[in-house]
């Protein structure tokens, strides 16, 4: 069975997304704790003991209009929740 070939448009748009980070926060697992970081930033701006606390902080940022939205990643890196 042949593989589905990826379009050039898709490949370029994936590269483009890495070049131009969104105004988005990511809640990411961090060695038993949870980090909140801006997309494209090198470091997290906060590390929290629980996922709920990290989500609370990210939600507050979204509500205050400091960021467009936020996404919460699961332990495998996939997005499990979006905060708008």
């Amino acid at each position: 069975m042949g593989e589905k070939k990826l379009s050039r448009k898709l490949i370029l748009s994936v590269a483009e997304s890495a070049r131009n980070p969104k105004n988005r926060l990511h809640v990411i697992s961090r060695n038993g704790k949870w980090a909140v970081k801006k997309e494209g930033a090198k470091r997290a701006f906060g590390i929290y003991a629980t996922k709920n606390k990290a989500i609370e902080i990210a939600t507050a940022w979204v509500k205050a209009g400091k960021t467009e939205d936020a996404v919460v990643h699961d332990l495998y890196g996939h997005v499990s929740q979006k905060i708008v």
Binding site: E3, K4, L6, S7, K9, L10, I11, L12, S13, V14, A15, E16, S17, A18, R19, P21, H26, I28, S29, R30, N31, A35, K37, E39, G40, K42, A44, V71, H73, L75, Y76, G77, H78, V79
Partner: protein, 204 residues
């Protein structure tokens, strides 16, 4: 890609291992190395020849033997990974010139589990990942930092980048009408191509 940059990846390619396979490939690519995989389902003779070629052309190898056990009761354990690891270690021992400089990392699920199933590999570089992708990224990055003996991005930086890569790439795939099933079963070659492009732009 040259021998010095190639990394032979010896692991399962089924859906149960994808949550570990993807961050493993991403980490190798992030370190500017080139993962070589043998995903193709072909006849035994052809497949083993392909694997021998990949091993011969790779300075580095990562063998994940965490699935060398029955997945459920009455299942048989899987021997492909230990078999390919044996081929690689044999190549290192009996090969000439550059092959003597090959290096391997063995990954297992829990610490010292290998002693119960394949104790002859004692003395190799063996790390456990606990089926945790973040842990796997850290162990793989730290091993390469040691064997390459140069500065490498931190495990945290790579893990964070992997999380952002998944978010951004899956969004783009959905825009191109890839379903959830399509994304979850994305061929390894597709994933490698997208990750390479994303990492190249991300590092600029």
């Amino acid at each position: 890609m040259p021998f010095e940059s190639n990394v032979f990846i010896n692991c399962p390619f089924d859906k149960f291992y994808v949550p570990l396979l993807q961050p493993l490939l991403f980490t190798v690519l992030y370190l500017d190395l080139n993962p070589l995989v043998s995903e193709t389902k072909s006849s035994g003779q052809v497949r083993v020849e392909q694997i021998k070629k990949l091993i011969f052309n790779s300075k580095y190898s990562i063998h994940d033997i965490s699935r060398s056990e029955a997945l459920k009761e009455n299942d048989l354990p899987r021997f492909n990974m230990p078999f390919e690891m044996g081929l690689d270690l044999g190549c290192q021992s009996f090969g000439k010139k550059k092959l003597n400089f090959k290096k391997s990392l063995v990954l297992e699920k829990t610490r010292y589990h290998y002693q119960k199933i394949i104790s002859d590999i004692a003395g190799q570089d063996i790390e456990n990942h606990n089926d945790n992708p973040e842990e796997l990224v850290r162990k793989v990055r730290n091993w390469f930092a040691a064997v390459l003996n140069n500065h490498q991005p931190s495990p945290t930086l790579i893990w964070d980048a992997y999380n952002e890569f998944l978010d951004q790439t899956n969004m783009r795939l959905k825009e191109e009408a890839f379903s959830k099933d399509d994304i979850e079963s994305l061929p390894v070659s597709n994933l490698i191509l997208l990750a390479k492009q994303w990492i190249a732009s991300h590092k600029r």
